[in-house]
C-alpha cells in the first residue's frame, strides 16, 4: 500500500520536527534546530529496519519515492514565491554582502572538498 510509505514519511517528518522544536526549547533558541535533518535520519533508520523485515514492497516505496521525485517541482514553486524584488532593492550593501559571502563559501567548499580527498 502506497499510503503506508507516505504515512511513514509523515510520521518521521512530524517526529523530527517535534524533536527539532524540543531541541530549540532546550537550547533557548527561537528556531527549529535541525528538525528536518533529524527526520531524515529517522526515515533512513526506519528504512533499514523495514528492509530487514522484508516489508518494503514496491508500492510501499512508491508512497515515499513519489514525494522525493516531487522535490524539484516544489523547489520551483518555492522559487516563484521569493521576495526577489526586495532582494534586488536592498541596495549595494545587500548586493556586496551576498556576492562576497557566496563566492567565499564556494571557495571554501572547493578547499574542504580537496582536504578530504587527499588522505
Amino acid at each position: 500500500m502506497a499510503i503506508y510509505g507516505t504515512a511513514l514519511l509523515a510520521i518521521c517528518t512530524l517526529l523530527g520536527v517535534a524533536l527539532g522544536e524540543a531541541l530549540g526549547l532546550a537550547l533557548h533558541v527561537k528556531a527549529n534546530v535541525g528538525g528536518v535533518g533529524l527526520a531524515m535520519l529517522l526515515l533512513i533508520a526506519a528504512k533499514q529496519w523495514l528492509a530487514g523485515r522484508g516489508v518494503l514492497t514496491p508500492t510501499f516505496r512508491l508512497g515515499v519515492e513519489f514525494w522525493a521525485l516531487m522535490y524539484i517541482p516544489i523547489v520551483v514553486a518555492m522559487a516563484a514565491q521569493q521576495d526577489v524584488l526586495a532582494a534586488l532593492h536592498g541596495g549595494p550593501m545587500v548586493l556586496i554582502a551576498g556576492v562576497t559571502v557566496v563566492l567565499l563559501c564556494f571557495g571554501l567548499v572547493a578547499a574542504l572538498g580537496r582536504l578530504v580527498k587527499t588522505p
Binding site: E65, I72, P73, Q81, M93, V102, V109, G113, K117
Partner: protein, 253 residues
Amino acid sequence: MTESLHKIVAEQGLVLAFALVGVLMWLSAVVCRRLTAGRIHASAIAIVAALALAWLGGVLTGGKKGLADVPAFAGLALLGGPMLRDFAIVATAFEVDVSEARKAGLVGIIALALGTIVPFVVGVLIAWSFGYRDAVSLATLGAGAVTYIVGPVTGAALGASSPVIALSIATGVFKAVLVMTLTPFVARFIGLDNPRSAMIFGGLMGTVSGVTGGLAATDPKLVPYGALTATFHTGIGCLVCPSLFFIILTHLT
C-alpha cells in the same frame, strides 16, 4: 463565465499550482534541449524562470510572496511553502547511502561551523564599512548573511530596528537566490560531484532553499546529502548569532 472561473481558481489553488509548475518545467526542458543543447540543466532553467516570475509578481502586486501574491497563483504558496518543502526534503533521504553520509561526519561539522562564522564575519565587516557601528545592527546584518531566517530571528531577539531587519532579510534572500542560480555553473570548479562534497556544500552555504535548489539544478542525486547538513545550519545560526557572536561583537565595538 468569469465568475465561475474565479471560483475554480479560488477552490483549486493547489491543483492549479501543479499544472503551472508542470508547464513551466516542460517549457524549461524544451529550452534546455533546443537552445542550450542540454548544457544547462532543465531544473536550473525552471528555477531561474520561477525567480523571474517571482520578480514580476512583486512588481505587479507590491507583495512579498512573488508570483504567489497574484490571486490566480496563490496555490504556489502552498505547493512551495515550508510544509511540503520539508516533507519532500525528508523523502529524498530514502535514497541516501548511509556509509557515504557517515564518511562525511566530521568534515560536515567543520563545514557547518565555517558556514556560520564566515558569512557572519563578512556580513559584519560589510555593514561596518557602510557605517553601522552599534553591535545590535552589526549582529543582525551579519546574521542575515548566514540565512534569511537567522537575520530576523537575531534582530528580533536583540531589538534591532525594522529597516536593519529588512536589510538582513534581503541579504539572506539574495544569498539564497545567488546559491540557487550560480551552483550549477560553479559545481564543476568546486568539485561538487559526490555525496561528501554535497554535505560540505550544504553545511557551508547553509540556506536550505538555496542549497536544495542549487543541488536540484546540478544533480538531483546530491540533494539529500546537502539537505542533511543544511537543515542544521539555520538552527545553529539562530543559536550562536544572538548570543555568543553578539557578546563577542559588544566587546569589539
